[in-house]
Symmetry: C2
Subunit: 94 residues, 2 copies
């Protein structure tokens, strides 16, 4: 998917000025994490793998999970809304 | 950091039209993953924790690592450039 830059603000879409057909334009990502622990300079999480309780545990990589650092499926909604393709990291006990 | 929307393209900065002082404006993230496995509908990685070789292994959550899914420190450059605060997931053997 070609990526160009435009702003969508109050219906003003730069792309309407160009002859190209109107299509959803993906704004190049700047920040990735909108809300998680924004008071911390860097959000690093650790997992002691021997303490994993379930055979399979999914960890979030889309920074939109309500149960961060664990995955809650929020990447599905994010991918659908943006055309992105992010998904979790799965930890398997064996 | 307040987040409003603008485009920075060839020096054209919308914010110069408003009376507010010029400052770097963060574009609200749309896509998170610019380049990794874009031919796949969803990028999910699995780790069998018993196969971890090192006492500590860092996994990328910024989608900019050259050694994805492993972390290569690319989040430092990303955070510096965008004011973000993302960091890796650390897997510890004990």
């Amino acid at each position: 998917m070609a990526s160009t830059t435009s702003i969508i603000q109050g219906g003003f879409a730069l792309s309407s000025f160009t002859a190209r057909p109107r299509r959803m334009v993906v704004v190049r990502a700047e920040a990735i994490n909108p809300d998680i622990k924004k008071d911390e300079p860097k959000v690093v999480d650790s997992v002691v793998v021997t303490e994993l309780s379930k055979p399979l545990t999914a960890y979030c990589r889309c920074w939109r999970s309500g149960t961060f650092p664990l995955c809650d499926g929020s990447h599905v909604k994010h991918n659908k809304a943006t055309g992105d393709n992010v998904g979790p990291l799965l930890l398997k006990k064996q």
